[in-house]
Symmetry: C2
Subunit: 428 residues, 2 copies
C-alpha cells in the first residue's frame, strides 16, 4: 500500500497522477480560502487575554511601585515590576533587562540600525565598513533575514540540525572572519523546525572567540514558554549566564516578548544583556524616545502577576493549539509516511512545523496549494534572500485556522505534495 514513489514504475506514476489530478480538480472546485502563511494566534487564543482589558479601569491606580505615574512621560527602560516579570520569563535579573514597546522585531531592527550608524559599544559604525556579514541558521525566520538584507548585510547560510546550528561552521567563521558581526538564533522551538539548541550548542555559543570585537549573538527567545505539552518540554540553557561564566559577558543580546502570550499587536518586548550592552541600548533610546508605553507594561503585570501566572496562561494556549499540531502531524504521518516524498519535524512547542519535500518541489507545492485556496508561507522564505538552494523547505503554521479549516487545509497540502512529487519524478 505505502510504496515509495521513487520505486514506482512510470506507468504506476502516471496512473497515480491521474487519480491525484482528479482529486485536485475536486478540491479546487470547493473554492476554499485559507491563510496559513503566518504564525498568528487564533481568535480563541486571543480571547484568553481579554481579562487584560479589565485589570486597568478608570478606578485603577496607575502608579508603578516606585510611585511614578505610568500615564505620564518618563522611565526610559521600563517600570520595575515589568522588568521583574519579563526578567523571570527571560531567566535573568530585573536589572539585566530593558522593556520596550509592542514588538521585539522592532528592537532587533533598531539594534541593527544602531550598529550601522553608531557601531556597537564604541566600535566602528557598520556603515563605515566595506563588508558586514551575518550567519543565518537555515531554515530560519524570514523577518530576521529581511532586516539584514534591508541593511545590505551579507548573509551566510549555516545548516540547522536537531541540536541547533552547525557549530563547527559557526566557530570557524566567527573566529576567522572579522566581518562576521552577528548570527540570528531562535534557540528554543526554533522557527520553523521547532528544534531547541542542545546544552552543548549553547556552551559552544558562550565560548565563541569572535575575530570581531563587535560580534553579537542575536538570541531571539521568542518561544521560551510556548510549550505544547506539560510533560514533554524542551529545556534551553540560559545563555547570558553561560556567556558570563565563559568570560564573554557582552557577546549576546537576548530578545523576548509577550506577543504570542497576550496580544500580538499589543504586547511588550524586552532585551536582556550585559550592563555594557544595556547602556549602549540606553544611549540610543534616550535620544529616540521619551519612553515606551508604561500603562501597557502595568496592564501586563497586573494581569499575569508573575512567572506562574504566565505559565498557567501558556497552558491554556497549549490546550487550544496542541490539537492543531497533532491534526497536522497525524495527517502527515498517515498520508505521507513511507512514501519517501517528504519529511517533517515533530516540535514540542513554538508555532511551526517544518516540512521538507523532495528537492525541487517546494515552490510547486506552495503554488498548487495557493491555486486550491490555501495560502502557505512562500517557499524559500525560510532562507536568506528567499532562496532555498534545494527548493524543499515549507513552513507550516497550524495555529490560526480553526480545527475544521485546518483539517481541510492539511488534506490539500498533502495532496499538493503528492502531486508535485509525482510530476517531479515523471519529469526527471
Amino acid at each position: 500500500m505505502m510504496k515509495e514513489y521513487r520505486l514506482m514504475s512510470k506507468e504506476e506514476l502516471l496512473s497515480l497522477k491521474e487519480d491525484l489530478d482528479r482529486q485536485y480538480e475536486q478540491v479546487k472546485a470547493c473554492g476554499l480560502k485559507l491563510d496559513m502563511s503566518r504564525g498568528k494566534p487564533a481568535a480563541d487564543q486571543l480571547d484568553l487575554s481579554m481579562g487584560m482589558m479589565d485589570v486597568l479601569n478608570s478606578e485603577a491606580e496607575l502608579k508603578c511601585e516606585t510611585g511614578v505615574d505610568c500615564r505620564n512621560y518618563g522611565v526610559i527602560d521600563g517600570i520595575p515590576e515589568a522588568k521583574r516579570l519579563l526578567g523571570e520569563m527571560s531567566e535573568v535579573d530585573p536589572d539585566q533587562i530593558i522593556i520596550y514597546g509592542n514588538s521585539s522585531l522592532n528592537v532587533m531592527f533598531d539594534s541593527i540600525a544602531r550598529s550601522m550608524t553608531h557601531g556597537v559599544m564604541g566600535h566602528t559604525p557598520w556603515m563605515k565598513l566595506d563588508k558586514v556579514k551575518f550567519l543565518c541558521p537555515v531554515p530560519g525566520y524570514d523577518r530576521h533575514f529581511k532586516i539584514t538584507e534591508y541593511f545590505g548585510i551579507e548573509m551566510i547560510n549555516v545548516p540547522m540540525s536537531e541540536d541547533g546550528p552547525d557549530m563547527d561552521m559557526v566557530e570557524e567563521l566567527v573566529s576567522t572572519d572579522p566581518s562576521v558581526k552577528g548570527i540570528w538564533c531562535v534557540p528554543k522551538y526554533s522557527n520553523p523546525q521547532g528544534y531547541t539548541y542542545s546544552r552543548q550548542t549553547v556552551d559552544r555559543f558562550a565560548r565563541l572567540k569572535p575575530a570581531a570585537p563587535d560580534f553579537r549573538i542575536y538570541w531571539d527567545n521568542a518561544y521560551s514558554i510556548h510549550h505544547l505539552y506539560d510533560d514533554n518540554q524542551d529545556f534551553l540553557e540560559e545563555i547570558l549566564h553561560e556567556c558570563a561564566k565563559a568570560g564573554n559577558p557582552d557577546i549576546v543580546y537576548k530578545f523576548t516578548s509577550t506577543s504570542k502570550v497576550s496580544f500580538p499587536g499589543s504586547g511588550i518586548a524586552a532585551v536582556a544583556a550585559s550592563q555594557n550592552n544595556l547602556e549602549d541600548f540606553r544611549r540610543y533610546m534616550r535620544i529616540q524616545t521619551i519612553g515606551h508605553d508604561k500603562v501597557n507594561q502595568l496592564r501586563h503585570v497586573r494581569f499575569f502577576k508573575d512567572l506562574d501566572g504566565l505559565h498557567e496562561h501558556m497552558r491554556k494556549h497549549a490546550r487550544l493549539i496542541r490539537p492543531k499540531f497533532e491534526l497536522v502531524l497525524n495527517t502527515l504521518d498517515t498520508e505521507l509516511g513511507g512514501l519517501g516524498i517528504g519529511s517533517w519535524t515533530h516540535p514540542h512547542g513554538g508555532y511551526f512545523i517544518s516540512f521538507d519535500s523532495m528537492d525541487g518541489c517546494a515552490k510547486a507545492i506552495v503554488a498548487k496549494a495557493k491555486e486550491a485556496g490555501v495560502v502557505l508561507t512562500e517557499a524559500g522564505a525560510t532562507f536568506p534572500y528567499g532562496k532555498d538552494p534545494r527548493d524543499s523547505n515549507i513552513r507550516i503554521a497550524p495555529t490560526f485556522p480553526t480545527l475544521e479549516e485546518l483539517g481541510k487545509a492539511v488534506e490539500i497540502f498533502v495532496l499538493c505534495v503528492k502531486l508535485a512529487s509525482v510530476e517531479k519524478l515523471l519529469k526527471d
Copy 2:
C-alpha cells in the same frame, strides 16, 4: 519704584543685592523641591482621560471597521478609524496619514535614521555624504536638536521671530546649499516661545526651491489643538495643502501625536505626508515591525470619537493649565516689568513660556533656581549643542506643578533673575 536696573548706580545695585541675597537665603532655607524642567501635563490633566481605560473592556468588540481583529498582528500603517481621527486633527485626508506607536519623537528619530542608512526616496544615504546640515530655528525644542546631533548632522541656528523662522535666511541656505537636508519646525505654539508661523511664513516654506532634492521640512505640529483660550486662538495654514499647491508635494513631513491630549506615555503618533513619502516610510516599516499597537488606536477612537471630541477634551485641559500660564505671566509682568532685565512671551497655547534674560545671565539664573530647589530646563537646551550664544534663553514649563507649587517656583525664579542681573551689572 520700577527703576531699570541699568540706570541704577553702583550703590543702588549693592543695596539691592544685599536685599535680594537675604531673600534668597530665606528661600533656600525652605528646602523646596520642584521640577519645572519638562513640558509634562499635571496629574489632574491625566485624570481627564481616565475614561479611556473603560471604553475597551473584556466585553468590547476589538475589531476595527474593516473587520480586522485589533488584538492580532497586521495592519502596518494604522486602522482606518484612527487614520480618520488623526487625519482630522492634522487637517489632512485619512489616506495621507500613517499611525505609529506612542511617540512622535520616535517617528522623527526613525525618519532621520532611515535617511542616514537608506536615503530619502531613493537618494544617496546621508551616511555616504561628507556633510549633512539641518536648519534649527532658535530657540527651539531640545530633543529635536539632540536627534540631529546624535547622527552627526551639522546644525545651523536660524533666528525666530513672532512670525516664525527668519525666512530670508532659510530661503538663502536651502536654495544654495545642497548639504542642507532639513529644518526642524514647531510651527504652532512653538516650543519654547509659543509663536505660530504666519501665513506668509508658511507660504514661503511651501515655495522653497531646495538645492537638495532630498530636503525635507520636519513640521512637528505637536500643539495643533492645544489652545489656552476659546476666543484667542492662533491659526496655522495647512502646510501639506500649500506645498502641493506650490508644486512641492514631497517637501514636508508633518508629525503629530496625542501625547499631550490623552496620556503622554501611551498616546498614538502619526505622520502626514505625500503618497511618495508615505510609501518611503512604509518600505522601512514593513521591515521594522509587524505593526503598531492597534488596540490602543481603537481605544483612542472609541474615547475621543472625532475632532469635536478632541476639541472638547482640549478645552478641559485648557481650563486646568490656563490659570498656570496666567499665574506665571502675571508674576513676571508685575515683578519684572519695567526693570529691563528680561523679556518673555505671552503664548495663546502650547506648553511653554520663553524667557530671555540679559545676555550672559541664563546659566546663572538656572543654577541659582536649582540651588533654591527649583529645577528648570537647562540653560542652553533650547539651542543646538546646548549652546545659547547669548546665554539668555530659559524655557518655562508651567503645567506640571500644582498652582500652589508654581506660585512658589515663579517667585523663586523672579528672585533669581533679579539677583543674577544685579550680579552681572556689578561685574560689568
